[in-house]
Amino acid sequence: MSSNVTPTSTPVKTTGLHVGDAGPGCRKVDPILIADNVRRTFGGLTAVDVEHVEVPRGAITALIGPNGAGKTTLFNLLTGFDKPDSGKWEFDGRSLAHVPAYRVARMGLIRTFQLTKSLALLTVLDNMKLGAKGQIGENLFRSFLPFLWRKQDDEIEAKALEILARFKLDTKKDDYAASLSGGQRKLLEMARALMSDPTLVMLDEPMAGVNPALTQSLLDHVLDLKSKGMTVLFVEHDMHMVRHIADWVIVMAEGKIVAEGDPHLVMQDPAVIDAYLGAHHDADIGTTDTEHVEVLKELIDDEQ
């Protein structure tokens, strides 16, 4: 990735990510994450049934699909927070099957949660410092000998303050995370994820519930991740955002990957419209309906 890409309103898109025709499960030139036959059922419900999917390295990939498509479940499976009925998947060439969540994180695959998980009664700065890897003082037997870990802790703090400044949270560093607004907590969670210098960042609905004033800054931060050489996989409902920043789009419906492609082209795929229409047909709750109608409108707008 070119390092001079700065967050702008017209981000530089990465192209030429796939091999052959774009389509569900298509191969990528340089995949960072590959999943095969990953299935997860809850009782009779098949939440995830992914035959094959590859996430391209160094790009921003959006994972979209109607509510209940299995996006969050797939995130949980890929990051070790849930166990599939069957399947295998690898990250950076290393198999992740049966690897516990904390080890997945240590390998450089960091995720955030759909429902923000800021650590409410820790200060913003402590939230950040917790994100750093390989801390000497996290060992119980060294923890009460501060001279062993003080220096490293100071370095971690400096790094945390630098990232916080970028996220404009530095003035809040001594406040409890509980005192932040919903959007600020999303920012904090993303900032915290960066403390470990991940190679792949997976964001589950980073924009959900975020005050529009903060959306642009969140967008810029996601783009910034790419410019710093990280790969991003994110779930998002807002099609404008997807089109704006994603280099690649993967569409899920009813647990399966139904379409893949360039953000502008994939929206024209009838399978995508079907996915949202299908979900619309048997949707059970009103809010879901309006949301899907919204998405459909956007999709149709896009085709015209």
């Binding site: 927070f81 949660f113 409410a120 402590d126 890897k133 003082g137 060992n139 915290r192 470990s196």
Partner: protein, 327 residues
């Protein structure tokens, strides 16, 4: 007429009594479990019992030296923590609560049953294990102190050892809780999945916390039996709840809270029991017998603690700021 001097001087004695130190240690352990890590250990009485019996049995049945007996008690509580933690720490928090409460009762009943009477002394318990500890006492025989705080050499020795232990462990707890280890521990209390997602082995940290806080309880259990004998009836679930009361009184995620909480608890308890007993004697409470009076003190302490928890829910040393966000 009521002898107020006597009541106050008895209450004052609790300020530095070994029992107060023992409860402070157990509460400090619970602060690690519950206050800092969010682990619901309802079996602290079990850890204390292991300290008491581990120490006494090692000396009486196996003739161990003091340090060996202390190590046996600590070892037993580490094993106990592993048995409790291995199956439950991966599950939701309430599983640990259920398992610990049951396991502590199993321990108590095992110590009470006649089957092992040769070793445990069954319901009448154990005594005669104090020799080794008394031999280590550097204080020459005699009586020392002033006013209500006049004790013989052995009684001073227990107090010195007990409170030194409190000071040392409070310092250790303070140090580890402000370290990166403590940061992980507090993070787990807030949301263990978030901490897991940051690459920390949450299960291992919870286990370390359970073991550490349990060992504090075990050391408290040893101090507890030095001025008295080992009696299984002392290790009922109500013991755990008294320790929780002390913890909440002082402030759950604090260092001084459990220590000062224990002091207040015991001073109040002694004051109330002294007052009620003498009030009955003096005929102030004609509707009450001496036995009922003995129970009344727990009711009064309960009310006092309720008032503190209602009007100062964060505990005496807790941070009000933290509480504003409690769900």
């Amino acid at each position: 007429m009521i002898d107020w001097i006597q009541i106050f001087s008895n209450a004052a004695q609790e300020l530095i009594s070994p029992t107060t130190a023992a409860y402070a240690l157990a509460a400090l352990g619970l602060a690690i479990h519950f206050g800092y890590t969010g682990l619901l250990n309802f079996g602290q009485a079990g850890f204390m019992a292991l300290g008491a019996y581990g120490y006494a049995i090692s000396i009486l049945s196996f003739g161990f030296p003091v340090w060996g007996a202390v190590l046996v008690g600590i070892g037993a509580s580490v094993v106990f923590a592993l048995i409790l933690g291995i199956p439950t720490l991966r599950l939701r928090a309430d599983y640990l609560a259920i398992v610990t409460i049951a396991a502590a009762e199993i321990l108590r009943l095992t110590f009470t049953t006649n089957t092992f009477a040769d070793i445990t002394g069954s319901a009448s318990g154990l005594q005669g294990y104090k020799g080794g500890f008394a031999d280590l006492n550097p204080i020459p025989t005699g009586s020392y102190g002033f006013g209500p705080f006049t004790y013989n050499a052995y009684d001073w020795w227990i107090r010195i050892v007990g409170w030194s232990l409190v000071v040392i462990l409070a310092l250790v707890t303070w140090l580890i809780m402000r370290s990166p280890w403590g940061r992980v521990i507090k993070g787990i209390r807030e949301d263990e999945d978030a901490v897991r997602a940051l690459g920390k082995n949450v299960y291992s940290y919870k286990m370390q916390s359970l073991i550490l806080g349990g060992v504090y309880g075990t050391l408290g259990g040893m101090i507890f039996i030095l001025p008295r004998s080992v009696v299984p009836a002392n290790y009922q679930t109500s013991l755990t709840f008294f320790v929780y009361a002390i913890l909440l009184l002082g402030g759950a995620a604090t260092i001084l809270g459990p220590v000062i909480g224990s002091v207040i608890f015991w001073v109040l308890l002694s004051f109330f029991s002294g007052f009620v007993a003498r009030a009955v004697e003096a005929g102030w409470l004609p509707f009450m017998s001496q036995v009922q009076a003995g129970q009344l003190r727990f009711i009064l302490v309960g009310i006092a603690i309720m008032l503190i928890v209602i009007f100062r829910p964060q505990g005496i040393f807790g941070n009000k700021k933290e509480l504003a966000f409690v769900k």
